[in-house]
Amino acid sequence: MASADERSALSPYRVLDLTTEIGQYAGRMFAEMGADVIKIEPPGGDDVRRVGPFAEDTPGVERSLLWMVLNAGKRGVTLDIESEVHRSQFKHLLASADLVIESSAPGALRTLGIDYDDLREEFPKLVWVSVTGFGQDGPYRDYKWSDVVGLALGGMLYLWGEPGRAPTRALASQAYYHASLGAAVGGMTAVYHARRTGRGQRVDVSMQEMVTFTLAGFGGITGYWTLEGRNITRAGPAINLGAMVSRVIFPCKDGHVAVSTLFGPHFPRLIDLMKRDGAADFLADDKWKTATRFTAMPGQWQCTQEDADAAEGVLERWLERYTRAEIMQMVREHELMIFAVQTAPENLESEQLKSRDYFRNIRHKAIGREVAFPGPPVVLSKTPWRVDRRAPTLGEDNDEVLGPISATGERS
C-alpha cells in the first residue's frame, strides 16, 4: 500500500473522497503523493463510471477511461450515505481521516446530518474540502453546474475558439480540472495547517473562481477592463494582447506548429531561411529584421498590426512547404522558437518524454490489459509522485476498509 511507503510525502495521511467529476482529480493528486485515499461511491457506482469513452467503446462500470484517469492511485469502497447504517460506517472512517473531499450541492449533506458543520466538534482536526460550482454561499449557491457552465461564468469560454463563431470548450473538461486543482492546493494547505496547529477547517472551493485564476492569475486578463477599459475576446490561433493580436499557431504541410511571438530574437534567422527558399517576399527588406510590435527602441522599426498580419501571411506560406519534422530539424539547427503542435500518439513517441521515463503503463485487470497514463505532473527528488496504481473496481476494498467496522456489528 502506498501509504506505508516512507518515501512518499503524504504517507501519514488518509483522505476520504466523496467527489463527483468536478473534484475527482484532486484525490488522485493526494494518492499519488502517498496519501491513503479511499474513494467512496454509491453501491451502483460513481456517475463517472458511466462517462465515455470506454475501453473498446463498450460501456460498463469497469470500462470508463475517465474513471481510470480520475481515480488512479485510490482505494475504493461502496457506501450508500443515504442509509443510516452506512452513514455510521462513514463516521467510523472519519475517525481515521485527515481530509474529506466532497462535491455535494451546498446543503445536501446537511439534510443527512453529515455535513462539516454537523461533524466539526467531534472531529476538530479534520479538514473538509467542499468543491462546488459557485461556493457555499451567494446568489449562485444553488445553481447547477457543468464544465462548460463553469468555463462560461469564470470568463474563460469567451476567450476560447475563433472570432465570429460561438466560443468553444476543450474536449477534456478544463473547469473540472481547475476546481480539482483548487481543492488540491487548498486542501493541502489546510492539512498542513491542521498538523501544525491541531485545528481543522472547511475549504470552500468555487469552480467559477478557480476558472478566473486561469485568466492569467490574479487579474492579468480582467486588467484589460479595469486598467484599459477594453474587453479582449478570443483570437483563434493567435494571442490577444489588447492593442495587438499576434498569431501563434500556423498550419504546415502535415499539421500545425506553434511559433513564438513573431518578432522575437529568432525572427532574423527565420527571414534568412525564407530568403534561402526564395520565399521571403517583402520580408527581404532589412528593416524587418529590426521590426517590433511594441514601442520601438533605438535601432528598431515599429510596424503596425497590418504590417504584422502581412508578415504572418508570408511566414504561413513558407511553413506550408514543410512538415513538422522538417521544421523541427531547422529549429534545432537555427535555434528557432517553434514547437510542433502534437496529439497523443506523437507525445507517446516524444524523445524528450521518453528520456524522462514519463509515460507509465498500469495494468487494469477488469479489461485485461495495460493502459498508458501521463506520468508525474511534477518530479520530486526525494518523495516521488507515483503513477503506479490503477483505479479501484467497484467495491474492491470493501472488506479491507470496512471489514474492521463490520466486526463491530454495525454493517448491514
Binding site: V69, A152, L153, L171, F218, I221, Y224, S355, V371
Partner: protein
C-alpha cells in the same frame, strides 16, 4: 468568506494565514514561476521577489497597462503575477549581490526559479549548492520541458507548450485550427501543480528535516490535464480532436442539447448543458417549446444525441432573441445547468463574484489602486487574502535588507552604493 480584515493602512492583516510563518524566495520570471509564489502569498507566506534592474522581467512590459506611473511599473500583467509580494532588485553578478543572495537563501524555506537548466550553477544557487548550505531547502524549478533530456534547454514560451502538449488540438472547431492561445494557458495551470507539491514537500520537511528539488516541466503537467487523450489512443487507437462544444463520449451517446448558443446582443452567448430527461422537460418548459417534448427525434437522450445538430439549430433559434442573464436565471430556476459567457467587464460586475469578495482593491506603489483577486479555494478559518499590491521595481530593497536580512542602516547603504541592491535607472 472574504479576505482577512483590513488594517488601517488598507493592507490585509494576515498573521493568521495557514502559511504565515513560511518564507519564500522567488527568483522566477514572467508568469508560471511567479504565480506559485503569488498563491503562497495569498495563504500568508512572506514572498520576496528578486529582480534585476538591468535585465527586466518580460512581464513588466506586458499588457494590460495602467495609465499612470513609471513605464516599468505600469504592467497589470506583472501585477497579476506578483500580487502580495515584496520586491527587491539585486545584482546577482555583483560579489556583494551574491552575498545578499546567500542571506536570502538562509532566510528562505522555499526557493522558486525558472531559469534555463544549468543557469543557477553560475551563481552557486543550483540545488546541490543550496542543499549543501541548507539541507532542508525546497527548490522549485519551473521550466518548459524539465531539468533533463535532449530538449531541456530549448527556448520557448508557455503559449507554445499549449500546442505541443496536445491541449491546443482539443480546443476549437473540427473544421478550424487548434485554438485556445488567446492567453498562455499552461502558465496558469502548472503553478497550481507546483504549489500543491511545494506545500506537500514543506509538510514532509517539517516531519523529517529533509528538503528536496521539485522539477516542474510545463509539458508534463499539461499532458495530465488532457483527460483521457492518452488512454483513449492507447486502448482504442482514437486520436481525440477538438469538437466544438460537444461532450466527449467516444462512440457512446452524449448528453444533448449541450452547447453554446447565441443570445441578444453582439457576441453574447449562453451555455446550456442538459444531461437527463428531467432537465430536458424543464428546458423545454422555460423556452416555451412544449412541442419539442412530443417530437420523436428528441424523446430520449439517445434520440437527442442522434439528432444533436438539428437540435442545436432549433435551440439557437430559440435563444437568439432572449436576454442572456434573464434566460440563465430562468433556466437555473427550472433546474437546468446554464451560464452566460462573461467577458472581463461581466466578471467585474458578476453578482456571485462580488458576493464572495473576489475582487480586492489594494493601493499600488506606482499607480493608485490595483484590483487584486482572491484564490478560489477559501480556507474558512485561515482565508486567502491580498497582503499588498505587486511591488514596483526595487520597492522593498530597504525593508527587505533591514527588516528581513538584518543589515544595519550603514550596511544597507553600503550595499546600495556598491550596486548589490539596485535601483532602476542607476548606473
Amino acid at each position: 468568506v472574504r479576505g482577512a480584515p483590513e488594517r488601517a493602512d488598507g493592507r490585509a492583516a494576515h498573521d493568521s494565514g495557514a502559511l504565515s510563518h513560511v518564507k519564500v524566495l522567488d527568483l522566477s520570471w514572467v508568469a508560471a514561476g511567479p504565480l506559485v509564489g503569488a498563491i503562497f502569498a495569498q495563504y500568508g507566506a512572506t514572498v520576496v521577489k528578486v529582480e534585476s534592474a538591468v535585465r527586466l522581467d518580460v512581464a513588466r512590459s506586458s499588457p494590460p497597462m495602467a495609465k499612470e506611473g513609471r513605464a516599468i511599473d505600469r504592467s497589470g500583467y506583472f501585477a497579476a503575477m506578483n500580487l502580495g509580494k515584496l520586491g527587491v532588485a539585486v545584482d546577482i553578478n555583483n560579489p556583494r549581490g551574491t552575498e545578499v543572495m546567500r542571506r536570502l537563501v538562509d532566510w528562505a524555506d522555499i526557493v522558486i526559479e525558472g531559469f534555463t537548466p544549468g543557469t543557477l550553477a553560475r551563481w552557486g544557487l543550483d540545488y546541490d549548492s543550496l542543499s549543501t548550505r541548507k539541507p532542508d531547502i525546497i527548490l522549485i524549478s519551473m521550466t518548459l520541458q524539465g531539468q533533463t533530456g535532449p530538449s531541456a534547454t530549448v527556448p520557448g514560451y508557455g503559449l507554445q507548450v499549449h500546442g505541443m502538449s496536445g491541449m491546443g488540438t482539443l480546443i476549437g472547431w473540427p473544421d478550424g485550427p487548434p485554438t485556445g492561445v488567446t492567453l498562455a494557458y499552461p502558465d496558469y495551470i502548472v503553478p497550481m501543480f507546483a504549489a500543491f507539491a511545494g506545500i506537500a514537500a514543506l509538510d514532509h520537511r517539517d516531519r523529517t528535516g529533509e528538503g528536496q528539488h521539485i522539477d516542474v516541466s510545463q509539458m508534463e503537467a499539461m499532458i495530465n490535464v488532457t483527460g483521457t487523450a492518452i488512454a483513449d489512443y492507447d486502448v482504442n487507437g482514437r486520436t481525440q480532436l477538438r469538437d466544438g462544444n460537444r461532450l466527449l463520449a467516444g462512440e457512446a451517446p452524449r448528453a444533448a442539447p449541450h452547447g453554446v448558443y447565441p443570445v441578444r446582443g453582439e457576441d453574447r452567448w449562453i451555455t446550456i448543458a442538459v444531461t437527463n430527461d428531467e432537465e430536458w422537460r424543464a428546458f423545454c418548459d422555460v423556452l416555451g417549446k412544449g412541442d419539442w417534448l412530443a417530437d420523436g427525434r428528441f424523446a430520449t437522450n439517445d434520440d437527442r444525441s442522434t439528432h444533436d445538430n438539428e437540435l442545436d439549430e432549433l435551440v439557437a433559434d430559440a435563444t437568439s432573441n432572449r436576454e442572456g442573464r434573464e434566460l440563465m436565471v430562468a433556466l437555473q430556476r427550472g433546474g437546468v445547468p446554464a451560464g452566460i459567457a462573461l467577458d472581463q467587464e461581466g466578471l467585474g460586475s458578476d453578482p456571485q463574484l462580488r458576493h464572495r469578495g473576489h475582487f480586492v482593491p489594494v493601493p499600488h506603489g506606482g499607480w493608485g489602486e490595483q484590483l487584486g483577486e482572491l484564490f478560489g479555494a477559501r480556507l474558512l478559518e485561515t482565508p486567502p487574502a491580498v497582503q499588498r499590491a505587486a511591488p514596483t521595481l526595487a520597492q522593498h530593497n530597504e525593508h527587505v535588507g533591514r527588516e528581513i536580512l538584518g543589515f544595519s542602516q550603514d550596511e544597507f547603504d553600503a550595499l546600495l552604493a556598491e550596486g548589490a541592491f539596485e535601483l532602476y535607472g542607476a548606473d
